[in-house]
């Protein structure tokens, strides 16, 4: 993200601020994804100093709002204040994204999903792929509750459904 930012603003800044900057960064990311075969895009914020709300909205929220995207998005290298800005805008839009905390492989959720979907996300991220009945058994839920939670996660592109199984997003 640091490199994309510096290309977008043509200056050595490390602050992801302002809407025009956010839009320029998002367009570059979309262009890179359009020619990539990868299923999951990992956006690395470790070289970014500051993310303001306008940029969080223009980059993260708008990437998630892009209709019919073929890829999954995961954030990494976020600091606490990055979390705060991104969480704020995603909650505003009722969106969510997976973010990998520094030094950790298991992602956490940023933004807004139903409580059950959040619990299902954590469980699948920690234990690996499950089907509806497997999740229901593991969490002591009914099958319909489990199906609904997994449906929510699929809608938010927070798990990869393949056949009967729901896979955690790749984070490395």
């Amino acid at each position: 993200m640091g490199r994309v930012l510096q290309e977008a603003v043509a200056a050595p800044y490390r602050n992801l601020v302002t809407r025009p900057t956010g839009a320029a960064v998002r367009i570059r990311i979309e262009a890179a994804l359009a020619v990539s075969n990868c299923l999951t895009a990992l956006l690395d914020f470790s070289e970014i100093e500051l993310v303001d709300l306008s940029c969080a909205d223009e980059v993260v929220a708008k990437l998630l709002l892009t209709p019919q995207t073929a890829y999954f998005l995961v954030l990494q290298g976020l600091r606490e204040d990055h979390h705060e800005a991104i969480e704020h805008v995603l909650t505003h839009h009722r969106l969510a994204i997976a973010a990998v905390p520094p030094g950790c492989m298991v992602p956490r959720l940023l933004g807004w999903v139903q409580d059950d979907a959040r619990e299902a996300f954590t469980h699948i991220s920690e234990t690996g792929p499950l089907d509806v009945s497997g999740l229901a058994r593991a969490l002591g839920w009914t099958a319909s509750r489990s199906r609904e939670a997994l449906g929510d996660l699929t809608l938010h592109r927070l798990v990869r459904p393949m056949g009967e199984l729901y896979y955690p997003l790749q984070t490395a």
Partner: protein, 300 residues
């Protein structure tokens, strides 16, 4: 004929209305002389308010106004250090000896009076503030480290309001000083001002109907600051002021916005301001002030 507008002796957000009243109807027909000879102190809000008046007169194609500089050498040095005169020279015909800026050593000016014309300027402002902000906010005011980044975020969002909504350029200044009378503690003050269309005109086409007869400068400020509305239909807009308000709550900070003939403030317990003041003397554009106080030593 010349209209003389006296700058208050102690020029801040409280005395701003006296200054605004001096102009009468905007834009005044006569040549304007802004007389700061007797001014003993000006907050960043006051300084960029003077520049805003100068800019509004220039945009109204009025004759270049005159500005007589403060008589006090100390006040002049302070204004020079804050970068005021270098900006004012473009808008006013300056009368009186002006000291050279930067010749007086370190100060509590965190950000000189800086023009904001485009989003690139916001990058410059955020970049420039980062080091000094940490020293003052964490070192002097006792705020947690992450407050520095929130502060920069607030600054960025406040400056972007000019670029996105004003329809013209504006100024920002950031300074630390002691609020002796009101609070008895150190504060950091962000002041942002523009000579643009103001909140009412910015929001009118999309929100006036909903307010009916209540629509005016005060209602427009309420819509923006309390309800988080924006003139853009994009649902992601309007979050900046809401976020600023939320973290100012945590720090017992204050935000006040003056636009047209109204001023709306989120008033912390230490202040006795009126939340909404209406029917004030008209002034162009919008003026925002954010005050972040030192944390109470007992709670550190």
């Amino acid at each position: 004929m010349t209209r003389v507008i006296e700058v208050p002796t102690h020029f801040d957000d409280r005395s701003f209305d006296t200054f605004a009243a001096g102009f009468g109807e905007w834009p005044p027909e006569e040549k304007v002389l802004v007389d700061a000879r007797g001014t003993q102190w000006a907050s960043p809000y006051g300084l960029i308010g003077i520049l805003t008046a100068g800019q509004a007169l220039a945009e109204a194609k009025r004759e270049k106004p005159l500005l007589t500089v403060p008589t006090s050498d100390e006040v002049k040095r302070y204004w020079a250090r804050a970068g005021f005169f270098s900006q004012a020279a473009e808008l006013f015909e300056l009368h009186g000896k002006v000291p050279r800026p930067g010749a007086t050593g370190p100060s509590d000016v965190l950000l000189d009076v800086t023009p904001v014309r485009a989003s690139e300027d916001v990058h410059g402002v955020v970049h420039k503030i980062s080091e000094g902000a940490s020293r003052i906010l964490h070192g002097e005011l006792g705020l947690e480290m992450k407050a520095t980044l929130r502060f920069s975020m607030a600054l960025s969002e406040a400056c972007q309001n000019i670029v996105e909504h004003a329809g013209t350029s504006g100024w920002v200044a950031v300074q630390a000083y002691t609020f002796r009378r009101r609070l008895g503690r150190r504060v950091v003050v962000i002041a942002v001002s523009d000579a643009g269309v103001g909140f009412r005109r910015s929001l009118e086409s999309t929100h006036a109907k909903r307010f009916g007869e209540r629509w005016g400068d005060g209602a427009a400020l309420e819509a923006a600051l309390i309800q988080g509305v924006s003139r853009f239909r994009d649902p992601g807009r309007g979050q900046g002021l809401a976020f600023i308000k939320r973290f100012l709550d945590q720090w017992e900070g204050k935000i006040s916005i003056r636009s047209g003939t109204a001023r709306l403030s989120i008033v912390p317990p230490w202040d006795e301001d009126i939340p909404l003041s209406d029917h004030l003397p008209s002034f162009p554009g919008a003026q925002v002030q954010i005050i972040i106080p030192a944390q109470d030593p007992k709670s550190r």
